[in-house]
Symmetry: C2
Subunit: 342 residues, 2 copies
């Protein structure tokens, strides 16, 4: 029998809440019988919205939370003060073992803070990185950290590499994933102080398939399965991906409107172009997990619609079934043992 997975979904977070959150939950539960969703938010509002749809009332439940954390609020204050917010209530469900995962399209800052304060880090994990999948020529890579720790140290990056490898192998099914550290050149002697310090540590790390430096140019070609960097660089990578892709498509579309000839051409290639764009769109992969917590916390895009919410909920099933938190705990214990032996 399949192990059931219960996900607490922040029904109030993001630009399209609660409508698209609820739709995503309905779609996901209709696809996977082992999934149960707890919609966390203002009960009356959610009841009304749910009543508009057909859904399995055995597997979608409402958990009341009267407050909402806004994107602009200072994260630490918001998490401390709004005890009855959908985010705090949802994360507490994970903390108390009533849910296996928490998913939100709300404020990134509040998710980071809440994840660490409420759900808590696995003992031995020093920093919890955000790890989204990014599209590549070959399919996708895991970027870790995409912005949770902008001033990380070398020992943190080593843990990012290990946790990222576990996630990529067991949740995404990439066997023995390659690990590369983002660098300004291919050679070991290249890099800033942090990379130079981290490189030898990654080289001697057991249980990861470290292939050395990966230059930013190589990332979109799939230069490494797990792309390791501190959160500042990771955030630049994630957002520049979006920016360059967006402008390029805009420019191409504009160029197709310049003459009758190109307009006819545009009609003929419209579908193919759209598919390619979809292929290179990060949102198709669902959310980004915060790795290294005592439970799963996943951030989806602020503008996520039902399809992305659904994908994120389904991803939680694999995470839960594969007992990723357990595997990370195990890896951290081994690391400590390695260090003691030295």
């Amino acid at each position: 029998m399949l192990k059931p997975t219960t996900v607490a979904l922040d029904a109030m977070g993001g630009d399209n809440a609660p409508g698209e959150m609820i739709l995503g939950a309905i779609e996901a539960t209709s696809l996977k019988k082992e999934l149960q969703v707890l919609l966390v938010g203002q009960e009356e509002l959610l009841k009304k919205e749910l009543s508009l749809h057909n859904y399995d009332s055995e597997r979608i439940h409402i958990v009341n939370a009267t407050e909402v954390i806004e994107t602009a609020e200072p994260p630490v204050n918001a998490i401390r003060r709004k005890k009855d917010s959908s985010m705090v209530v949802g994360m507490k469900l994970v903390k108390e073992g009533k849910a296996d995962a928490f998913v939100s399209a709300g404020s990134s800052g509040a998710i980071l803070v809440g994840g660490q304060i409420i759900v808590g880090r696995i003992k031995g994990v020093d920093r919890a990185p955000m790890a989204p999948l990014i599209p590549t020529e070959k399919g996708f890579s895991l970027l870790v950290d995409s912005g949770a720790n902008v001033d990380a140290r070398s020992s943190h990056l080593v843990q990012f590499a290990k946790m990222g490898s576990i996630y990529m192998e067991h949740v995404m099914g990439r066997k023995n994933p390659t690990v590369g550290i983002v660098n300004v050149g291919a050679e070991e002697e290249k890099g800033n102080a942090l990379v130079k310090e981290t490189f030898p540590l990654l080289k001697e790390s057991k249980n990861i398939n470290f292939i050395g430096s990966v230059e930013a140019r190589e990332i979109p070609y799939g230069g490494a399965d797990v792309v390791v960097c501190e959160g500042f660089t990771g955030n630049v990578i994630l957002k520049l991906y979006e920016g360059v892709g967006g402008v390029l498509i805009k420019k191409i579309k504009g160029s197709l409107m310049t003459s009758l000839k190109t307009k006819i051409g545009a009609l003929l290639i419209k579908g193919a172009l759209k598919d390619t764009m979809k292929d290179f769109d990060a949102t198709q992969y669902g959310g980004a997990p915060l790795l290294g917590l005592n439970g799963l916390v996943v951030k989806t895009h602020g503008n996520a619609k039902a399809a992305e919410v659904k994908n994120t909920l389904l991803q939680c099933i694999t995470f839960n079934e594969q007992q990723i938190a357990q595997k990370i705990k195990q890896s951290i214990l081994e690391e400590e043992k390695e260090n003691e032996e030295k």
Copy 2:
């Protein structure tokens, strides 16, 4: 009368040397009468190559240099040992005032080291950043630093902002250019330690049009005219631009080959697509100057062809006519005065 500009061109550096270097020099001198080019490299080889073309022998001369610095050589060693290399000889021409600028498509590392050791920094300039133009939706922005200083400090970034503004205004003709610091969010309190330290310094800097943080997503849309960051982040930005663009085009081209319909469409839009790609290709803007030296040193792409070499040589004329080094000196003096007054 126009002030004549003499450029020492490394005829031996880059993938396409000396052929494309020489062609670029011939094209540039035929366009601008005030330009003189000193081709630095192995005399016999260059003589032979030059003899194949028509050119103005009054304005293209050969300066003999018997050695060549290879891309793989450790830069410091190469510059110290190969005293008769095209790079060392060419930079000495700038140092001795026999040339106004040095242009090379050779090893970036050697250009950085040689620029600082041989040409030397302007007194008061702590670090010389590499500052290429990058394509944006609106046209182009200046990225400073794209990789020369991977562990820069806040005071360095402030100088990068000032030197970049001067270059953008006086060489590229962008009046009162906006300056943004690369950051993970728009708010002042966001950022890593370096950015948080630099932000207030930029805010109180005179003579720059600081507009605050620029997220990587906004860079391709032209979010700031002068994009300031340390060299590690800058290198990631420059190379990721290239990588994302490259993969996206490859994917689009591939998608157009999937059916007869899209193949016909592809024929109709081919020209427009090509123009867009050219528009978004960094090489059209010529080379990246090292700012803050006692003379101009410019790095062009390793795979530069005649057109890029020509553009780079023409850029040197404006740099020289506008007396950028003088303007930077002036700005540094003002900065020192400001600091004394505090």
